[in-house]
């Protein structure tokens, strides 16, 4: 084992867009384990939009990422050393290992590290469709949108880790699934590979009117549920096509993450259409995780839930990969491969 752990820490808080200078690669020695501790070699690091919020000092939807500390993040890997009876060398585990090559953690507390079975599910999927993004999709669709057969569900960032699951779950529930994604390649993938009924390339629509017309064409019965990952013009266009008693699950608003104003043009439509708009963070709903992960895991293992990954190589590549994710340069779940 390398005696050195390479880590990415937050060097400074972004002013507007995130830049590579906001991060710093550091090397730390690996200390001997204490009783109860486990050392994990991280195989994959998950990069997710929520991390952008953590980089701000101001009130966000979670605690700020402290400066000069290892960036927060989900990881999957393999136990390489253990002083904890519940974990053996060779165990595959998922945890919040952060942006680093090794995680050293007191695993006596339940839930800090969870063993996973890679017989039928690839290890990396536990960071995507069978992990936090998958459960995020499941919660928003089942608990907020509460989708019913025959309804129409729209999801933005449809080719992404969350959006791709939203649409496939909606289809599995008998709903019409319409995606929004950036570019013809992503849209083709969303329809042909993921099985959505339609996907709109928002980059082809310069204004709300145009995008709203495209939504009308693809959602002839109107929109009953919208899973929001982006915000801004997309949200405005969706509101213009929302049905009475429609629901919006607000999961992310990546278009405003750098502080751009993203006003909602016509909030009165929430009243006119008697809508419900609800924001959520999946980590505050741990009670649904077992049920959600069971369904998602079965779907992935049986090939009914498809996903795609963008994989950057090596911990040093994490900052640029994260910046690309915020700009929509990824295609599917963004990971950093560390082994």
């Amino acid at each position: 084992m390398s005696p050195i752990n390479r880590q990415i820490v937050l060097a400074s808080r972004p002013k507007g867009e995130v830049t590579p200078a906001n991060f710093r690669l550091v090397e730390a020695p690996l200390a001997a384990l204490a009783d109860g501790q486990v050392r994990v070699r991280n195989h994959f690091l998950s990069l997710d939009p929520y991390m952008r919020g953590r980089m701000n000092e101001s009130k966000s939807y979670a605690a700020s990422q402290p400066l000069d500390e290892v960036m927060i993040g989900g990881t999957v890997g393999e136990v390489v050393e253990s002083r904890n009876a519940n974990f053996a060398v060779g165990d595959k585990v998922v945890g919040m290992g952060g942006w680093q090559e090794y995680q050293t953690v007191d695993a006596t507390q339940r839930g800090v590290l969870n063993k996973v079975d890679t017989t039928h599910i690839p290890l990396s999927a536990y960071l995507g469709s069978v992990g936090m993004p998958g459960v995020t999709a499941w919660y928003g669709l089942m608990k907020i949108i509460n989708v019913k057969a025959g309804e129409t569900v729209v999801v933005s960032a449809a080719s992404g880790a969350v959006g791709s699951v939203v649409g496939q779950l909606a289809k599995a529930r008998g709903a019409r699934a319409v995606g929004l994604a950036g570019g013809a390649d992503k849209c083709r993938y969303v329809v042909e590979e993921l099985g959505f009924d339609a996907c709109i390339d928002y980059k082809q629509h310069p204004d709300v009117k145009s995008l709203s017309a495209a939504l009308k064409a693809e959602c002839p019965q109107g929109i009953d549920g919208y899973f929001e990952n982006v915000g801004g013009m997309i949200l405005d266009a969706v509101l213009l096509r929302a049905n009475a008693f429609s629901r919006i699950a607000m999961c992310g608003m990546i278009s405003g993450y750098d502080g751009q104003p993203i006003p909602m043009a016509a909030p009165q439509l929430i009243l006119v259409n008697r809508m419900k708009v609800e924001g959520f963070i999946v980590s505050e709903h741990m009670d649904v995780w077992p049920e959600a992960l069971k369904e998602l895991g079965t779907m992935v293992a049986t090939g009914k839930l498809k996903f795609r990954e963008s994989i950057a190589e090596g911990i040093a590549a994490a900052p640029e990969a994260f910046i690309g994710l915020l700009k929509g340069r990824n295609f599917g779940k963004q990971l950093v491969k560390l082994v």
Copy 2:
């Protein structure tokens, strides 16, 4: 009985602000009753903000008011003639009699006309605190905001028919009630007569920053529930003080009724604070009316729910009184007295 029924019909749809020219006073003869019909002399006509939406052709939160037909509206009155065994001359009734002196209605359908007891509750209250506005307040506060003791509830248009009930019910549930109203007189009334903890005169605050600071001062623990009657800058200011897991009941957005843009500046706060924002129309929730009316009626009869009325005299005064309501010139429930 006068053989003539004076009525106000919708003459034209408003372009922007409502004007008297949008209405026309007509006289119609009273025909003989058919079997099952009841004739009611309307004593009071209710004027309510929702009527503004009905005047538009475009999609609103209910069917459009047809041109050249009697304006829709709630009424209380006395049965003056009956060919229906369930109603006798002298019965006091509440119904949707419209902007006219007499209502002639087939009362065989349940709910079209409801008898009311005026022993302990004044007849006009059935158009206010013990009627549609009261149930509106009750539904939004109980079913959407779901207020709990110790929480802080804010309501706009606090001296009005709906807002005044919201705050008094919130107090009865052990919450802190903070109102927003226009002018020192209304604010004094809201605190001194209605018993709110505080009331902010929004006219003293030219911008969101100033209003938000005032809300911070009056809501030191933040805002857990907001009952929205106005929209625009007030909504933006409230969002800046909203707590995690707070709820907004969207009942009306009178500031945008004439078609003014009323964007929501920072919808991302719904996500950041994991809020729920829900629009509703009380007539779509008839199942709660008996429970709500029972509580509201008891509170009025025992003096625990106070209200105030602005009373215009005569059917011809209805248009100007309605225009005044939309501009906030009323003080409490706006009625037109017809007898």
